[in-house]
Symmetry: C2
Subunit: 331 residues, 2 copies
């Protein structure tokens, strides 16, 4: 009986293994996405570019996917998260700067008067960024960001900002990576503000984060080499700056790009104008209950020209209210 | 007899498998490196940072190794390869620029008078770079470089420039990658000049190539988006610029760095001044027969301060004549 029992056991193991692999194949890689045209456009694209022998097959090294951050991977309302960080930094640094009590735009920030800040225009914003984002080493700034992001809370939900990420987009990042894609962030936000937590939150390592970048100076500090953050601008990674940042950092054109505002339009144009099957997606903020509803007239993340061009070019537009059965992981 | 025969066969297979895996373990990953202190310093470093439980263990995502290109991965004598490219471009473009026959520095280039070119100083070099490296799209420049590099030959050896790479360094790149390292080029050479062939020649994809970079402008050309190469300088990826380029592109500090000249000194300082076991290596050109012998006084690739600092800090210095039993793959 022994040999035949052993054979039966082996057969059972084989059947179980096959059953499990079928289950794995059948499992939905995007459970927070409702069935429909949007989800299908993503899955069909991934299947076509990854299937050997497909006319649209793309080799693994060329499977580059780029994602905007604010409004695409995490919430950007009522103001950009980096602005909350900036405001908190001004408050934390104020005791060392008694002159800020009367000096704009710092005085308005300390009084919580955002309109007063806006009155200072671009020069005011540059002054705030210079005071809070430059003049320290890259290591120091990274520690400041890491400390802030683990304690700060979103004013509306009371959640940490790193919980204000979109569950369907986290699933999409995983799904693309499981299919051989390299996933990048391409954001108008500061590169040094995102890198300390992008790997933990999105699974995107620092070398795959592209963002607005300032000058750096190599010098000796207390006998050890350091990189000092300077006020000069090296890359404004927004609008026309996004394809520039992509070329500078990656050196090849993405085959898929994801954004939510007109600031992402050029990245999508650059991605979807090359030959071959391409995927360009706008996340459209349509859900006033679970998130925020805004597009053409918004003061932050306006999607106007982008909506028109998406229609013209048959790009995918995600209707957050209809296409997502879950928005945030904590919901 | 059947069961015991089967058992014997299984045992034989097991023994064979074990024997093969021992052979694999015993196979020398760096066959072109002679046994000795240099080779041992590299192997010991890799073993210590990759062995689980080692006090110097480094997780895979942090295993970043950066390599200079000219003089470290391929030959840089009698002049940088990119200068040969530039000269050939001036000659190829000359029919469209009859004024170059009398206009410096172009006239000297066309006459093959390198001293005349040098007389023009930095302004002359900028004029040559502007004429040959800017004003076209990134795609066009990439095609120009790809065409040139497949046909141009080194004047001394008659070999393609991509054959003038150091066999021991190719083995080192493979060895590091097999041990979970991400390998980067960090070169004073042009980023757009290296990216078209770095993957094929070194196994280093374009997104892991950092180099001297110029401005880019996103615009529509014949109704399609394009990136135009501008004459402005965005990163001078040499000396103090190397740690800057590393931070900008990678966002974390390497744990191993390889160079051959004082232009790489700051990259090695930046790498080896962080805490933990680090590896800093200078390739010292000591082999006048198989390659070239030069260091402190050389007009290209001078290694002067670097030699002193290597001694002071106990960095590894590769003696090409003694440490390498093979220099180029074709030898």
């Amino acid at each position: 009986m022994m040999p035949s029992t052993r054979r039966a056991t082996n057969a059972t193991i084989l059947i179980l293994a096959l059953a499990f692999s079928s289950l794995a194949l059948a499992a939905d890689p995007l459970p927070s996405w409702n069935e429909g045209a949007t989800k299908q456009s993503i899955i069909k694209f991934v299947e076509e570019v990854t299937r050997e022998g497909s006319p649209d097959f793309v080799p693994v090294p060329e499977r580059i996917a780029t994602f905007d951050n604010d409004g695409t991977l995490w919430a950007e309302q009522p103001i950009y998260t980096q602005l909350f960080f900036l405001i908190d930094r001004v408050k934390a640094m104020a005791p060392q700067h008694p002159e800020w009590k009367t000096q704009e735009p710092f005085a308005s920030v300390l009084k919580g008067d955002l309109q007063g800040v806006t009155a200072g225009g671009e020069a005011g914003v540059v002054a705030l960024l210079t005071a809070t984002h430059t003049g320290m080493t890259t290591d120091e700034f990274s520690r400041i960001v890491s400390n802030w992001i683990t304690t700060a809370k979103h004013p509306k939900t009371g959640q940490p900002f790193t919980a204000m990420v979109y569950q369907p987009m986290l699933e999409l990042l995983d799904y693309l990576r499981a299919n051989g894609f390299k996933t990048y962030i391409v954001s108008g936000g500061g590169i040094d503000f995102m890198r300390p937590w992008s790997e933990r939150v999105y699974g995107i390592p620092p070398e795959q984060v592209i963002g607005t970048s300032g000058g750096l100076k190599y010098e000796m500090v207390d006998g050890r080499p350091a990189l000092i953050k300077l006020p000069s601008l090296v890359l404004n990674d927004d609008k026309e700056g996004k394809p520039v940042g992509i070329q500078r950092h990656i050196g090849r054109r993405p085959i898929a790009a994801f954004g939510n505002s007109d600031g992402d339009l050029q990245m999508l144009q650059w991605t979807c104008s090359s030959s071959g099957l391409r995927l360009c997606v706008f996340v459209h903020h349509t859900d006033s209950k679970r998130e925020w509803a805004y597009d053409r007239g918004s003061h932050i993340g306006a999607l106007d020209k982008g909506l028109d061009e998406a229609k013209l070019r048959d790009w995918t537009v995600v209707d957050m209210e209809k296409d997502w059965n879950r928005v945030f992981p904590f919901q």
